[in-house]
Amino acid sequence: MIPAQFDYLAPTSVADALSALAEAGDDAKVMGGGQSLLPILRMRLNAPEKIIDLGRIEELRGIRDEGDHVVIGAMTTYADVLASDLVRQHAGVLTDAITEVADPQIRHRGTVGGALVHADPAGDVGAPALALDTEFVITGPGGDRTVAAADFFVDLFETAVGEGELLTSIRIPKHTGWGSRYEKFVRVAHQWSIVAVAATVRVEGGTIAEARIGLTNMGSTPLRATAVEQALVGRAATDDAVREACAAAADGTNPPSDLNGDADYRKHLATVLTRRAVLAAAGG
């Protein structure tokens, strides 16, 4: 498991990283925590000439409270997000999802930003980021631009981050007081999600006032189950009421078929897991 030879750059500022990226062009690959990239290199599935490691850029790490938003630096590790009370309090479904990511070793190396840009549809942070209406701050030579969650995930392993750009932070609107649940379905604990559902729900007086639902691995990108979200509004947080609203959770999805399940099974799982996630998020 020896990668092909590559040049290794470890810039210490975003500006340096961007100029390195501009200079390298197509030949470079940006590395976050390396938890997906390193296996790819070691199995020689890819052989970039340059690796630009963002691991030494301090300004990309950390979690900040910015009024209505929680801001997470792109190079913040899963473990740091897990330990954050701020995230737990205002974006609980992200904490729930990260609890289920791989194993402790990977959670201490892997970064939230790296996973989002890698955009594996089976990854666990895309669906909660989508459900929480996260804003993605992308930095390029011309400065920052902000992309809405709905526009960030383009296709399999493809995001709105363009050539010569970096994802520098994500801004999550506070969902304070919302209940949350990440229902992850796997065969063994350290596996990628076969299907997972991120649900966060605001309950008022026993009925669902608002609901946000993201689906993991139900298509080439994380998906938002907006029809279910709308159907849930005003319903009692009971099994029967929620079941009916969640029946459409898999409508319009296009999940893969592989060793862990055919597409029709995944669709079935999506409806079951959505109901369970919503009920749990609603405290049912």
């Binding site: 020689r44 379905f185 065969r187 099974y265």
Partner: protein, 830 residues
Amino acid sequence: MTAVDDRPKTEIGSARKRKEDQRLITGRTKWTDNIQLPGMQHLAMVRSPFAHAKITAIDTSAAKAAPGVSLVLTGEDVKDIQGSLPNAWPITADQKAPPHPSIAVDRVAFAGEIVAVIVARSARAARDAAELVDVDYDELPAALDLKESAEDAVLAHPDLGTNKSAFWQFDSADAGTGTAVDDAIATARDGGILIEREYRQQRLIPAFMEPRSFVCDPTGEQLTIWSSTQVPHFVRIFTAATLGIPESKVRVIAPDVGGGFGGKLQYTPEEVIVTLAARKTGKPCKYTETRSESLLSAHHGRDQWQRLTLAATKDGTVTGLKVDLLADMGAYLGLVTSGVPILGAFMFNAIYKFPAYQFNCTNVFTNKTWTDAYRGAGRPEATFAIERLMDELAAEVGVDPMEIREKNWIKHEEFPFTSVCGLEYDSGNYEAATARAKELFDYDGLRREQQQRRDSKDRVQLGIGISTFTEMCGLAPSRVLGSLSYAAGGWEHAEVRMLPTGKVEVVTGSSAHGQGHETAWSQIVADRLGIPFDDIEVLHGDTQVAPRGLDTYGSRSLVVGGQALVMAADRVIEKAKPIAAHMLEASVDDIEFSAGTFKVKGTDNGKAMAEVVWAAFTGHDLPEGTEPTLDAEATFDPSNFSFPHGTHLCATEVDTETGAVKIRSYVCVDDIGNIINPLIVEGQMHGGIVQGIAQALWEEAVYDDQGTLVSGSFVDYTLPTSADTISFVTDNTVSPSTSNDLGAKGVGEAGCIASTPAVVNSIVDAVRPLGINDIQMPCTPERVWRAIQSAGSTQADPTTGSAQPHFDEGAPNQAPPDPSSSASAEGAGQ
């Protein structure tokens, strides 16, 4: 303050922590890949991406010109010197097998087969150069499906003319050990019960922790090979036999080895290639496989279709069992590939009193990685089949599955019992183990809960699975192996060296690779010779240090090698007695030995072992004609196998909505005879149970229709971790084995043999009221869910390739399950 002697009264039976674990757990030890030698060269392999193809051209010029490369080998380069890899178990006189080259010459027969080898100054240079080798292939049709291959639809080896390697039969009427099974089946068909099923043993990958690594140093008079192997003595013999190197010129060392599970019971292409490369370059050569290469090309395990016919009377008394196996050899015959299914031949009847039995096995070639020994080797397959069938029989009779077992098993007072296969089960007590297991499990309480969940149509149904297994282990009486056409014997060797300062070196021919021999062997010698545990060093795994041995597999080390050790230790005492008598000025007949001291009977007059050892060492004053040494050795050839048994009980919760299976409780009570170290036994049980559960729930080596291994990494080959398992409740009953003085039975494979059917039985038990009587392994959530989905409909859609009764249209007991006869299928959380 009082000095406390905290040593256990006897070492045997004490839960000593393993003395080898400090270095094994920290990794501060010699693994093969750690070995660095001056001038060492590193190898990388070019492997075929195709399952079956002609090699039309190989261009190695770019690789040869790459930096650091000293040698590139192709099959063409070595075809006259590489020999053919050995198969030590030709099960029939007319067994067919293709030549088995280490480097393919003009044709590859499985994806992963080596076609070229790079030798270079660094592992990286070798890997880089391997990318530069250009191989032209002409793809050939590949034999992939086992059943189709058995029909010779596509030939895995066209020159062989057939995919069938051998057909092997055991028939109790022919052997004179029982009656004719076809008569029993005919009788059962006419008014009795006939259970006909087909079960799949999926292909598994041993997935040992340490990938395989090999070093060959050609610079001494003896060629020295370090190998991460279970079988250094076999590697020495087969290096000589395959490459024509005199055995006396070969030394093989298995340093600390990180697990094997049968996967390192092999003489491999890589061992041949490293040796050839070292001899060609004159330099030490090393090859360490990647995990991907390990999963792809180290031998796989299991992979059988089992057609089973069980005959019984209406009340559930078994009258006959017929077994028809198709066993997938993969592309070649490895060391014991062909014999693995035969190791199960005598175990399908298990603990039950079948009067008639027939076992038929057809070994079949396919264009896949070759199969060979994997933990349990033959016996898990047999145990799975019979334990699943006993549940089916119970369902047919309409009684609790434990009751059907009790009705048919060998009673405690019937031991020793000669089975329908002619094996003599020396000891056992199935009633006692079962009673204890049921108590620990709260069997009756869980059955009540199961009924409540059924009655309330709970979304989560509870299933209870039983496995009252036995196995034959402690391989093996040499004469039995001879009668089965196995090339080697089954004895084991030990030596006890009494060092002048009172310390002891124990040399064993077994070759531990994680089992804990150093601790257990020390405990045995400590008790036998009255030597402190810490004063004993156990040496193994080097043919120069331990020249005689048959290594470690088949749960044999303790029951065969341990007995050799007992015999050697006893010889030390016998050699010491005349010297002690001389020192004590007494007659030898008056000397007795206990707790490390030789005493004159009836007196306090004695000499400690250390004093006698010193006297023997100096030789200053020994009785006339006495050798000046107490060192002793012994070789033990067992007269019988040992027959561990146990009752394993598993409760699973099946989520009928998703098909997810969760193990709720697992209890096992095993009878492995006398226990040397309960902690080691506990560890063996835990590891074995998980490995068996993994077959039931998680693991499968899957190939696509091109013959590519899809589950080629741990992303897709879903090996469980501790996060996926639960805490097991283990206990033991003790019926000492009579085949060795320790009274011990093997435990290395027991958990793995027993647990698989317990888990599957529990899943089927959970959903049986829905009309389901089988789910194919691994019982993935999707398979369970599909079984539940299809159970309610009349045009039941069986799980892919799965087993439903189907052999004889219109025969009795062949009706599809009738859901209306039991609890409604609507209980499935709808």
